[in-house]
């Protein structure tokens, strides 16, 4: 019985990992506390639902179009909200508050058009297969395989491609990489595109299973932030590790107590980590003034 919970936890945790990785792509490199990410996450399944069920485009094309739409919205936030502030040399708190503003706007525009209630895209009852004592639905299988493929592709890309090397250089020292002739503005744009894409993929995978409402972004963003902190800020493997750990932990909380205490346990863990190991599991201790 407990294995069932752990398997569920790992699969949910991998999606946390995908979403946290998207957040980390922006936070690790640009140090922008991208709260509007919650809204970008939420938009994707609404676009998918509109295209797939509303317009009636085949699923594969709907997914591609929905992801492009999500990327466009992510870029809009970067171009309309963050870029002017960075040109203006605003402080990080100022950018964070504007990001909250952008999140509020996107959430309420969606709520205005689609309503506040929960919507489902996939109304069929999921078929499942049984491995030993563990039951896995096909939706979970899709979630697992897509997250795994995404991780493999991303980390290969990060390790071997030119873009990956530039990203790591930019993460380590933004000013120096700019001085050495790296086109940081272009790199930032690519990072925002990837980040929105990851949000969209994670979001649609979850929404396909349980549906969505306009307010799903914030709880997910909070889980992603906790995953990022306990994994460790800096390395890109960290949010994935953190996500899977949180997924397992939450599943165990459900097993031993009840689902009501998931959030309390998650955020207690966050505060414990902030206090005793702020660099996270994989991070190295850095002294900053």
């Amino acid at each position: 019985m407990i294995w069932q919970f752990i398997v569920n936890g790992v699969i949910t945790g991998m999606i946390y990992g995908v979403v946290a990785l998207g957040f980390a792509l922006v936070y690790n490199t640009t140090r922008i506390f991208h709260i509007a990410y919650a809204a970008i996450y939420m938009v994707a399944p609404y676009l998918l639902m509109f295209l797939f069920k509303g317009v009636g485009i085949p699923l594969l094309f709907s997914v591609i179009l929905a992801m492009s739409g999500t990327v466009v919205i992510g870029m809009a936030v970067e171009l309309l909200v963050y870029t002017p502030l960075i040109r203006h040399k605003s402080s990080s708190s100022v950018i964070m508050v504007s990001s909250i503003g952008a999140m509020i706007i996107i959430i309420n525009v969606v709520a205005l058009f689609a309503g506040n209630e929960t919507k489902v895209i996939n109304t069929e009852i999921a078929k499942s297969l049984k491995i030993g004592q563990v039951l896995i639905t096909y939706t979970q299988l899709i979630q697992f395989v897509s997250s795994l493929l995404l991780f493999i592709a991303f980390f290969a890309f990060l390790k071997f491609s030119r873009f990956g090397i530039q990203t790591r250089a930019y993460r380590d020292d933004a000013t120096l990489s700019a001085v050495l002739g790296l086109n940081t503005l272009r790199l930032r744009r690519i990072l925002y595109i990837l980040s929105s894409l990851f949000a969209g993929i994670g979001s649609c995978l979850i929404a396909w299973d349980v549906g969505m409402d306009p307010y799903v972004g914030m709880p997910m963003l909070l889980n992603a932030m906790v995953a990022l902190i306990i994994g460790g800020i800096g390395r890109f493997e960290a949010p994935v590790l953190g996500g899977v750990l949180i997924g397992i932990l939450q599943a165990l909380v459900v097993y031993f107590t009840s689902a009501r205490w998931q959030d309390a346990v998650t955020f207690t863990l966050l505060i414990i980590f902030l206090l005793f190991r702020p660099q996270g599991i994989l991070g190295e201790k850095i002294r900053r003034v």
Binding site: S90, S98, N108, M218, I271, L274
Partner: protein
């Protein structure tokens, strides 16, 4: 007329919330997202004193203020060891933990069902605060007291020390100030003030449930403060006026209620973005967050 009085009471509650948050955000540069949690703790403690202990007004208010400021140490202790984004995250964690406890500890807080029928507080003997006008006077008295104390605090050596931390923490340390102790004092005073608004809200509305004290409320309080302005007395007052009166203004334009809530939120969001770009100190503030 009664409608206007009702609005003024709400504005008063929010003036206390924004003013006490200003002490943290505007004077000490501590961007806390745990304000609604303290607001909720103040409200639930007031209800405890009123409904279980059957205390009159003044002991209830003092009880709520003192215990809330003690509990705020649970927020101050871990978060003050952190800086920047990490500080914000720790306060966020506190906010979510408190909300989960209020929501799920059903045997004590009645969780999502909320607590209805909160009795009117008794002033002395049998004089009860009941009806719109009594609450109007009570809230006005409390607002005047809070704003007056805040005014004195800003101009006191303590207030100047907090501003010193805000502007240059390292120099304050070099001057031999105990920065952590000062920040903890700021937290404690701010939470005691917030408990007052919790008390007012609980007794005036006479029903509370945890959703009035969630993360969105924290963000809302912070937006009200930032829109109004940071660092002085005018700012928070104007912020509270704007966030309470704007939805009423929208209602008079004739927007249907179903749409009005969303439009209002969109306006807040736009206001935050535009202000942060062109006027980061808010409408009437004299300090821009950094």
């Amino acid at each position: 007329m009664e409608y206007v009085i009702h609005l003024i009471i709400l504005i008063n509650i929010y003036i206390i919330l924004t003013t006490s948050s200003n002490l943290l955000v505007g004077l000490t540069n501590l961007l806390s997202l745990g304000q609604a949690a303290l607001y909720g703790i103040g409200a639930y403690l007031s209800v405890l004193a009123l409904m279980v202990f059957h205390w009159p007004l003044i002991p209830t208010l003092l009880f709520s203020m003192i215990i809330t400021s003690l509990l705020s140490l649970l927020l101050a202790w871990p978060s003050l060891r952190l800086k920047g984004d990490y500080f914000v995250l720790a306060t966020l964690g506190f906010q979510l933990i408190v909300f989960t406890i209020l929501y799920n500890w059903v045997s004590v807080t009645r969780g999502p069902y909320g607590i209805p029928g909160i009795p009117n507080p008794k002033l002395f003997g049998d004089i009860e605060i009941s009806g719109l006008w009594a609450f109007f006077v009570l809230s006005l008295v409390l607002v005047v007291v809070v704003v007056f104390l805040f005014h004195n605090l800003i101009h006191s050596p303590f207030g100047r020390a907090l501003k010193g931390i805000r502007d240059d923490e390292l120099s304050m340390q070099a001057l031999g100030k105990n920065v952590t102790a000062l920040k903890i004092q700021a937290f404690v005073i701010s939470s005691a003030f917030i408990a007052i608004s919790g008390f007012l809200y609980a007794t005036y509305v006479s029903y509370i449930d945890p959703t009035s004290f969630n993360l969105d409320e924290s963000i809302f309080i912070l937006s009200a403060l930032i829109v109004g302005g940071l660092g002085n007395i005018r700012g928070p007052v104007i912020g509270a006026l704007v966030v309470i009166l704007l939805p009423e203004a929208l209602r008079f334009i004739g927007l249907p209620d179903s749409v009005a809530a969303n439009i209002r939120q969109i306006i807040y969001g736009l206001a935050l973005i535009v202000l942060m770009r062109f006027r980061p100190q808010g409408i009437a503030g004299n300090y821009a967050i950094k």
